[in-house]
């Protein structure tokens, strides 16, 4: 399977099963439409006949020969040999945990998927005992995996920062003896950040996600405090202070865009001009019924904005400045292996979320739906049936993915969105698919542009 597209004056061909990417001239771009496999060594006469009004016969034959040489070394029209691999995949060790240390929040963001922090449940904070039980649960189910991730999430995790510190301290105290390496991350709205907490985060967290939507008017329209006031002017300097002392450790200034800011490249630039060079701005995914909801009719405008943003980032990089937009990151050479690409985030299998009550869910986005409780860390229970179900959710098991060019880049999308909006973890959320495909095209185009 190949996918070809024209973007920002580049003709690009990707070979899906081999991972190859080519920047080509218009002749090669047209010839691939006529190629039938298995390719023959000599250029078929029907290809020459179809294109001879546009190119010379010599040019067509020369280009065909180049395409044929790529075909011969399995770089073009490469066969799919992964379906058998996918069939052999099964439950794996748990290596990643989202710890919802606070089902409470000091903000009341309009688009919050966590129902303003409590996930539709009682407002509560995780106890130290439950946090320690969660770490023990992760250790017990991690098998031989050495690197274990724990993300402190909420609600707002800084509302329970003392418990976070104790959980980190406990995990650190047992990691060497068990040959484990904990990587902690935290996601915060920033309101409670101070120098002391920023220092703790910079010392202990391998990544920190700083929630801010961009321009003041955009941020304050939906990222509001409980009393309705905006948060931009309070959190911006706190985030800048944290990042200024973070050295080269990972962080993301992470925002959400909605129908209110379809010009979201301006929000990326706002963050960049305020000193942030690691940026993620994501679409709010909803059922389409809210005033701010993105809908399929917005897709052309969204695509246009991603293309604009890609060109802006190319210019910034060509000036020698550093900027990284999360959804345009693409490591073509040293990216994930095909096993990783078959199952995506691996929620419910290698990744789980834990609530303040110790209940285990497939991921943070399933929290609040009792049907998906798959265990409890205090009782030490784990439902192997649900784990098995998620372990088998590969791109070959999902509707439409098998025929999609993006399957080894996106790996089947977000299972939670699939379930929430299409009723099954195996039914891809098409709106998200369309956005993901555009981001991938932009990311591949940027590789081509920066290789010029």
């Amino acid at each position: 399977m190949i996918h070809k597209f024209y973007l920002n004056s580049f003709y690009i061909i990707t070979d899906i099963n081999s991972g190859s990417v080519f920047s080509v001239d218009p002749c090669a771009y047209q010839i691939v439409d006529y190629i039938k496999t298995p390719m023959t060594e000599a250029c078929p006469s029907d290809i020459i006949g179809a294109l001879k009004d546009n190119y010379t016969v010599e040019e067509i034959k020369e280009t065909y020969d180049e395409l044929y040489s790529l075909y011969c070394n399995d770089s073009l029209f490469s066969e799919d040999s992964y379906e058998l691999l996918a069939g052999r995949l099964g439950p794996g060790p748990i290596k990643s945990m989202c710890l919802n240390v606070a089902h409470d929040c000091n903000m009341s963001c309009g688009y919050c998927f966590a129902s303003q922090g409590n996930f539709g449940q009682d407002r509560s904070l995780m106890s130290v005992e439950t946090g320690i039980a969660a770490i023990d649960f992760l250790m017990k189910h991690s098998g031989k995996r050495r690197n274990l991730e724990v993300d402190f999430f909420g609600g707002e995790p800084l509302m329970n920062i003392e418990v976070v510190k104790k959980i980190v301290s406990y995990a650190r105290s047992i990691e060497d003896a068990n040959n484990k390496c904990f990587r902690f991350t935290i996601t915060t709205n920033g309101l409670l950040l101070n120098d002391e907490i920023a220092g703790f985060i910079n010392d202990e967290m391998s990544n920190v996600v700083l929630s801010i939507d961009g321009r003041k008017e955009v941020n304050d329209a939906l990222r509001t405090r409980v009393d309705g006031r905006g948060s931009h002017d309070s959190i911006l300097p706190k985030f800048q202070n944290l990042v200024s002392k973070r050295d080269d450790k990972e962080y993301y200034a992470r925002g959400t865009y909605t129908k209110y800011n379809l010009d979201f490249s301006e929000d990326v630039l706002h963050l960049f001009h305020h000193g942030f060079d690691q940026i993620s701005i994501e679409p709010a995914i909803t059922d389409g019924t809210m005033d701010y909801s993105l809908t399929p009719s917005d897709l052309p405008r969204i695509f246009e904005e991603y293309e604009k943003l890609a060109k802006i980032i190319i210019d910034i990089k060509k000036r020698g400045e550093q900027i990284n937009f999360f959804h345009f990151m693409l490591d073509l050479e040293q990216g994930p292996c095909v096993f990783k690409r078959l199952r995506g985030c691996s929620c419910g299998n290698e990744y789980v979320a834990v609530t303040p009550d110790g209940d285990v869910y497939p991921c943070h986005q399933f929290v609040g739906n009792d049907d998906w409780i798959m265990g409890n860390v205090i009782q030490g229970k784990l439902n192997s049936e649900i784990k098995e179900k998620f372990s088998k959710a590969t791109v070959f098991d999902k509707e439409c993915c098998n025929d999609c060019w993006a399957k080894f880049y996106c790996s089947g999308g977000c299972n939670a969105n699939n379930y929430t909006y299409n009723g099954s973890i195996l039914s891809p959320h098409h709106f998200s698919c369309e956005i993901e495909k555009k981001r991938l095209e932009c990311a591949i185009m940027m590789k081509v542009a920066l290789a010029e």
Binding site: G19, R183, V209, F326, H327, D331, C337, R341, G344, F408
Partner: protein, 45 residues
């Protein structure tokens, strides 16, 4: 080649032999928590 510039060589099939250690980061955990993008993740090897 005159008409084609190789941006990335074939590497996915090779990863079927060398990959699968499972030590990499969970993709949703890394920066977004609301979507799944895998190809931007790092390999731990």
């Amino acid at each position: 080649m005159k008409h084609i510039k190789i941006i990335n060589k074939p590497n996915l099939k090779k990863s079927a032999q060398t990959g699968g250690c499972g030590e990499c980061q969970a993709s949703c955990q890394s920066a977004c928590k609301t979507s799944c993008t895998v190809a931007n993740q790092k390999c731990e090897k």
